[in-house]
């Protein structure tokens, strides 16, 4: 049974923050200091990053839980992906507008996770809008659509629970829409 919601994205995309903002419990994360100087410069307000999974849960009542995972999007950690993707009801790809490889990174993650979780629905959240005003949302969205990914794409401030919540609502709507289409 699909009991998982998965957030995936590269370092600095906001996975841990997004999961924290909608969870009923403090996410369990393995955070380590960033050792890469270039990454430290790129993420000036971030000194630690998640090196393995984030895990949290959302209570549905009567003891039922929706398990929420955050998975690093870096290719060298892809051995984790099949394990987490199995039984996912939905996958949300988070990408930072500051990421110069935002589009190829997102395309890769969508392709890989669609293959791993063919039953899942997908949505994309673009973070860090306030720090990258020149990011062309429409070009990004149109490029995804051009590659066959017609799915909800929206700006999201991972710190704002209402925005992450809305992104999840859009994802769930897609899931239901698949059943009536």
């Amino acid at each position: 049974m699909a009991t998982k919601l998965v957030f995936v994205g590269e370092m600095g995309a906001g996975k841990t923050t997004a999961i924290r903002s909608i969870s009923d419990m403090e996410p369990i994360s393995t955070e380590m200091p960033i050792s890469d100087d270039a990454a430290l410069q790129a993420f000036e307000d971030k000194s630690h990053t998640t090196v393995a999974l984030d895990y949290s849960s959302i209570e549905l009542g009567d003891g039922e839980l929706l398990h929420v995972y955050g998975v690093p999007g870096q290719a060298y950690l892809d051995f984790m992906w099949p394990i987490v993707a199995e039984g996912a009801i939905g996958v949300i790809v988070l990408v930072s507008a500051l990421n110069p490889r935002a589009l190829p990174s997102t395309l890769t993650l969508l392709e890989r996770f669609r293959a791993l979780a063919p039953e899942a629905c997908f949505a994309v959240g673009v973070t860090c809008q306030d720090r990258q005003p020149d990011f062309s949302f429409t070009d990004f969205r149109n490029a995804l659509a051009g590659d066959g990914h017609r799915l909800p794409v929206m700006w999201v401030d991972a710190r704002e629970s209402s925005q992450v919540d809305f992104l999840v609502k859009a994802l769930l709507s897609c899931r239901y829409a698949e059943s009536i289409a």
């Binding site: 959302i58 949302f137 017609r150 704002e160 609502k169 709507s173 059943s179």
Partner: protein, 320 residues
């Protein structure tokens, strides 16, 4: 039993070359049109689209205006010192009373009306449709915006809340001036107060408007080309399911309303927002529209409980 409420229509009356006396009488006469359920907006004519032009035609400038109006197909009510019987177009005598002007306006506007649609309220989006993508300066009362659809940007020129501009977009009485592509917008940027994504402006205005931004053909197949760039959380929750369905395949609006538990009016508002932002795809074919999903709308109980946890109810579409 009371008579059904008659809808007030809106007309734009252009004027050119009138002196103060005739201008004042024209304005009073125009205001009397409310008795005919016509809300008339009198504007100085600068080639913009109007329903009727009232112009003094006795000098060479007036003759030029007459030619320009003729070229644009704009009906003209002439104000002239010449014999009215010799005029090839409707006219009133120089010094005509408010009553004379009113009667002519009423007759001419009703002729326009009889020939086609009722005068539609000049909302921001109706005005913008005439611009056909050219950057435009639009204003109504205190609200003043520049819309550059090609650059996908809306610029507020007055320091008033964005939300107020969005609400005002659906009201009538907007006037539009075309700006020269390229440099035309630049000269106003020093006074710009804030910039917003064009899609955000259109979709949020659509969400706040009781009617579609522009009339839609509700018979064909429609699909969404992409998810609009709207501030997250600002779209109505009940739009999510129809929008998600429109991302998957083409739908007939009526069928979509039925499948999602929404109203046809709601679907029309979504379609209008999509049309205004270039996201409405009407090229779908029947084969794609009958894509075979399971079509049942039945989902496992666990999914329903997740949806409920996020404040959604899919039992009759998405009710939020």
């Amino acid at each position: 039993m009371s008579a059904p409420a008659r809808k007030i229509s809106a007309a734009v009356i252009g004027c050119k070359g009138l002196d103060v006396l005739h201008m004042m009488r024209l304005k009073v006469a125009s205001s009397l049109l409310m008795a005919e359920y016509i809300q008339a907006d009198v504007q100085e004519w600068n080639q913009q689209k109007v329903d009727l032009l009232v112009a003094s035609i006795d000098d060479s400038a007036g003759q030029q205006v007459l030619r320009e109006a003729g070229a644009k197909g704009v009906p003209v009510l002439a104000v002239t010192r010449k014999l009215l019987s010799g005029l090839p177009i409707p006219g009133v005598a120089h010094g005509a009373s408010v009553r004379d002007i009113f009667q002519q306006l009423r007759q001419l506007l009703q002729q326009v009306d009889d020939s086609g649609e009722r005068f539609l309220p000049r909302t921001l989006f109706r005005s913008l449709a005439e611009a056909r993508g050219t950057p435009s300066l639009l204003h109504m009362g205190l609200v003043k915006v520049i819309i550059d659809a090609e650059q996908r940007q809306v610029t507020l020129m007055r320091d008033i809340p964005y939300e107020n501009c969005l609400k005002a977009a659906a009201e009538s009485g907007w006037t539009l001036s075309l700006l020269a592509p390229g440099g035309g917008v630049g000269q106003y940027m020093a006074d710009a107060v804030s910039h917003h994504a064009f899609e955000d402006f259109c979709w949020r205005a659509a969400a706040l408007s009781a009617e579609p931004l522009l009339p839609q053909d509700m018979r064909g197949l429609v699909q969404l080309r992409g998810w609009p760039e709207v501030t997250t959380g600002q779209l109505p929750m009940q739009w999510l399911l129809p929008m998600a369905a429109l991302m998957i395949r083409p739908w007939r609006p009526e069928r979509l309303a039925l499948a999602t538990g929404g109203s046809l009016d709601e679907i029309a508002r979504i379609m209008a927002a999509a049309a205004c932002t270039g996201l409405l795809d009407t090229s779908g074919n029947e084969a794609a529209a009958t894509r075979s999903g399971n079509g049942s709308g039945k989902v496992p109980g666990f999914f329903s409980r997740i949806a409920k946890r996020f404040g959604l109810n899919f039992s009759k579409g998405l009710q939020g």
